[in-house]
Symmetry: C2
Subunit: 354 residues, 2 copies
DNA sequence: GTGAAAGCGCTAACAC
DNA sequence: GTGTTAGCGCTTTCAC
């Protein structure tokens, strides 16, 4: 018993393939009710399932959306993937997933593969937006960038600057004046925007005194190292990561540093590293050190203490992206979504429960 | 400029479609080197990319593997997905991902969709193994179950019992005698195996006195609730989840309970909830309460204190699964992989660093 | 070594 | 309302 095809159904129903197609697809031609029933019965009886591959070949659409992220094991992207898959499924689409591993050339290879698979559209957190955009345009494949994106392409981003400002201000409102920052890698678009937001907020209170920031990867170890650089009374060992200068001038010799009262961490993962470093240094969060972070991934809620964070609207991003990809006539999209402050324990606000 | 097809290339190279196919696929017939070069040039010049859909229609294979998990946002499954995608990519396959949301009927729908897409094989963490197996067998689609699986199907599991024994023994070795357990939901295959392991280990030391366990979902809140039930001196509010009896007889009235010195948590997520509950109750981990957990997902390393855990060999599972799916002649597979104890801080062992 | 042609399973004109 | 038929882009037999 090989694959059941439309021809088999047609035979069983005593009709033609075309009619079978019409009832399966509800068109484009009408079918008499009686015939319809016979076909339905035949489908039932034969166990026929339309072949998506053949369908895609003739019809044009594969009903498949691609998703490329740097690392699906990262909770932020995992949550994004879950949201995209859900939105796609709700729209009857299936999603092809791949990790670029943060590597531009891997990403381009992946794109090639997806294009050969004739995906209908792509959601991408890109390492090489310009190149990706070019490739996708040439293939006439719809796509939306999340985060970094070329000017002319559809994209969805969040207000990184505004979020960082809000986070830092919240710390300011707690009465802290020495608020340091753990920034993302230099040159990263998102990292720079968040750093700028922090800068903007602390600059508003010149009494803030010596304010410092360090630039580290968006990882747990990145946050750990950053925290050590920020919190350690002694200077870093040679070869350690570079510290940023105070915005009020170069900070004094390490021995003279005043410990920050609070830290704005640019990502949840970094904040997790910071928490560990604080624990290692015997510092209590939020009593000795207040912390606000950015992302709002589930990890921030699980941490002890729970992290006050700037929440990204992941579900909204996913829905918007999917909608854009399947919209019959899509408008140019260049969304910047609002982020919200989620107050939990790490900033020093009163405890709330799970 | 529409899609570039093989015919275009053939025309440009002054040859036939068949020859183009031969050079693209390196067979099945030989091609003269000179012709080959002309074809290659034509491909380059036209920007031809083979169409995967058409290829799949005739060839049979879509070079696509499916992955169905309950929830990709769960770090354990996210890590699994990353590993599966990586293994698949290394083998030239692409992965179609979907979330069953822990729901059997959603899972079956998903299966249907994947089958229509003609996936070559499927890796599944199933909610309805028997039904899924039947469907997949009927469609002659290869598949491997992770975790719960029908007897006759290919499956990969881990030694849940042995892992739980090792975890509990480690706690015993720390000198604790009152070791409670947070089990997964009753009826869950994996949960039962881990619970049995804990039982086995504590039974070996009858001096353990009153040992208790509670059954809760494999979630952070499940762990939180479980911890409250285990650690609170006062009885639970009415309507709270049921507590298991002591294996040495029903435990006494709540007021008379002795607080456990240690807890074996059946999953990392539950342990995270436990950590939070302990903090809320003013209990220090590991000083007041030692903890060992199960899974070894990244979250366990990030927690403060870092969690001592039973690590599942995720990469190995993924590689084994993918290999099984693409193996030209697959042997029946019924693997039970070993798990390892990863010692960190939560059990009371001396601190180690990030 | 190369090419013509027969499908893979389906949809959608286009006739009837 | 229903059936015939021409492809969709590709692989692969089979002749030359």
């Amino acid at each position: 018993m090989a694959r059941v095809t439309q021809a088999d159904v047609a035979r069983a129903a005593g009709t033609s393939m075309a009619v079978v197609s019409y009832v399966v697809n509800g068109g484009p031609r009408p079918v008499a009710e009686a015939t319809r029933q016979r076909v339905l019965a035949a489908i039932e009886q034969t166990g026929y399932r339309p072949d998506g591959v053949a369908r895609a070949l003739v019809g044009g659409s594969t009903m498949t959306l691609g998703l490329i992220v740097p690392d699906i094991a990262n909770e932020f992207f995992a949550e994004l993937a879950a949201a995209v898959e859900q939105a796609a499924r709700a729209a009857g689409r299936t999603v092809l997933l791949a990790n670029s591993e943060g590597d531009a050339s891997t990403e381009l290879d992946l794109l090639d593969t997806f294009l050969q698979r004739r995906i209908d559209g792509l959601v991408i957190v890109s390492q090489a937006p310009a190149a990706a955009d070019r490739l996708l345009n040439r293939a006439k494949t719809r796509h939306v960038f999340l985060g970094a994106a070329p000017e002319s392409a559809a994209s969805i981003g969040v207000d990184n600057f505004g979020g960082a400002v809000a986070a830092t201000r919240h710390l300011l409102e707690h009465g802290h004046s020495r608020i340091a920052a753990i920034a993302g890698p230099a040159g990263d678009h998102v990292a720079e925007a968040r750093l700028a937001g922090w800068r903007h907020a602390v600059a508003a209170r010149p009494t803030a005194g010596r304010v410092r920031f360090v630039q580290h990867p968006f990882t747990v170890t990145g946050g750990y190292d950053a925290a050590l650089a920020l919190l350690n009374p002694s200077p870093l060992a040679p070869g350690g990561p570079a510290s940023g200068a105070s915005i009020f001038g170069r900070s004094g010799p390490a021995g003279a540093r005043v410990r920050p009262q609070a830290v704005f961490a640019s990502s949840d993962r970094q904040a997790i590293g910071l928490l560990r470093a604080a624990a290692d240094l015997g510092l209590s969060v939020p009593d000795d050190l207040a912390v606000v972070t950015f992302d709002g991934s589930s990890i921030s809620a699980y941490a002890v203490p729970a992290l006050t964070t700037i929440q990204q609207p992941i579900a909204e991003m996913a829905e918007l992206a999917v909608r854009q990809l399947i919209d019959p006539d899509p408008q140019p999209l260049r969304a910047v979504l609002e982020v919200g402050l989620v107050v939990r324990r790490s900033c020093g606000c009163p405890p709330a429960h799970l």
